[in-house]
Amino acid sequence: MNIVEKILARASGKEKVSPDDVIFANVDKVMVHDVSGPGVIKVFDKLKKQGINVDKLWDSSKVWVAEDHFVPSAEKISAENIVKLQNFTKNYGIEKHFKYGMGQYGICHTISHEEAMVLPGEVYVGGDSHTNTTGALGAFAAGLGHTDIAYVLLNGKIWFKVPETLYFKLNGKLPDHVMAKDLILKIIGEIGTDGGAYQTMQFGGNGIEEMSVESRLTLCNMTTEAGAKNGIVEPDQKVVDYLSSRGASNITLVNGDADAEYSKIYEFESSEMEPIVAKPFSPENTSVVREAPNVELDKSYIGSCTGAKYEDLEAAARILKGRKVKIRTEVLPAAISIYKRAMENGLLKIFLDAGATVGPPTCGACCGAHMGVLAKDEICISTTNRNFPGRMGHVDSQTYLSSPLVAAASAVTGKITDPRDLN
């Protein structure tokens, strides 16, 4: 069995599972945030009316909560959702609630790794499609809707069809100017936004061994844009070190068998990789940066669970150090822990000196919610993960998706720019 089959077999109490088997998997961790939490509360209200008991969760110690999409609240509905969420965690005795303005908090997927909320080998479900991100730690991590999350909260399990696995083998190290974001955009450009539909996308090979845990998180994050059920990397010592340094203990490593089966294997030569952007209006609409359209940009956005981890900010700072931005540039670290490190290590000063603004951790404009959404006809280069019409604001705005290096280089020139071409 491959790693996903092993995790799902263990979680469903079976000796062996194969693609297409339908199983009920016991869940190890569940996450909701300020959008899916109120959605689940609504489902609970409906269930109550149907006479279903919702007084107690199956295990509140396995549930954790993030405030990210609409914080800081810009208007009263969002503010009320936060109050709802806080009452919910209080009533159900959920202790791991990362609250805005009270120490560590941030984008849910970022908290999943920054706070070591999920461990290798676990089944982790979240009320958000980019729950796939956390598969980089070697967990089976998948996003679910409100009804499914409500079911998990009450029953501790959920059905899955065991997915087939696409294996992406990466050979060698990425060049300095190329990041994991470029690689995943290239992959999505090749297989399309439904190229991984219903399947696992697993990343391996010596290119992955070389890669930092944070880069692996970027890869798994955007498996969602290829339609995948989940993304995963087999955990290694780097993952153990990463999680241990964030307080985790009792980490056991699960790996696939030597004769594990994959439905398809793709190979990529890292040394040949180039910076890539995804043009409007789809993550699969990719182009090499040097061949991208010569458009006048209005804004550069360095934020989100995809593109505002510490490593991402470090990359942007490398470019922005000693330079000035030519367009509106917003940097939103993805969690307070990252914000703090960026401050301590002088990155925030670099951003501010360059003329960029630094905002609080939030999903904000990534999903067009608030805090810097785009006006009609505005064009943005962004380290986020989606660029469907209206994603970051007005339906007639445009978003180009890129790595933090490209977003920073483009901030300096006001055009889509390969970091190698900056003087």
Partner: protein, 161 residues
């Protein structure tokens, strides 16, 4: 199930256009319905009738996990979405929450059915009848678990064996 078809002849209709991100904070189903499809078809709300169907191409519902998407469609009156394929979370949400039927069709139905056609869906026979054009197409059968959850009326009413 009988109704008229609203056709969007394109692939990858994503949740950002089905219900734009700014409405994610809303959990009132009627209000969500009033913004359904706003990102793609501002006329949707005025033309949709109770019992209508949506017909579309590949990968319908891709993007976010927001259950707001099937909720907004179902509370607009949509009983089923017919598409060449679906994104997985949209598909699950539609079935587990018993909001609407996600029906996978083949190219013949996609090409054959036009905007406004009256069709009848027969899940037992896996058949779609185009009453307007007097044609019949096959739909892809639901997998066993999906069939059972639909029959039960959603995941909470389904009793695993």
């Amino acid at each position: 199930m009988k109704g008229n078809v609203i056709k969007y002849e394109q692939d990858n209709i994503d949740t950002d256009v089905i219900i734009p991100g700014q409405y994610l904070k809303i959990h009132d189903y009627a209000e969500l319905a009033s913004h359904a499809m706003e990102g793609l078809d501002p006329q949707f709300h005025s033309k949709v009738k109770e019992g209508d169907f949506i017909l579309s191409g590949k990968n319908f519902g891709c993007g976010s996990s927001r259950e707001h998407a099937p909720i907004a469609l179902s509370h607009s009156g949509i009983k089923a979405v017919l598409a060449l394929s679906f994104a997985r979370i949209f598909y699950r949400n539609a079935v587990d929450g018993a909001f609407l039927l996600p029906i996978e069709i083949e190219e013949d139905a996609y090409q054959g059915i036009s905007e406004g056609d009256e069709i009848e869906i027969n899940v037992q026979l896996n058949e779609i009848k185009n009453i307007t054009k007097n044609q019949t197409y096959k739909m892809k059968p639901f997998s066993e678990i999906i069939g059972k959850i639909i029959e039960a009326g959603g995941l909470f009413k389904y009793k695993p064996d």
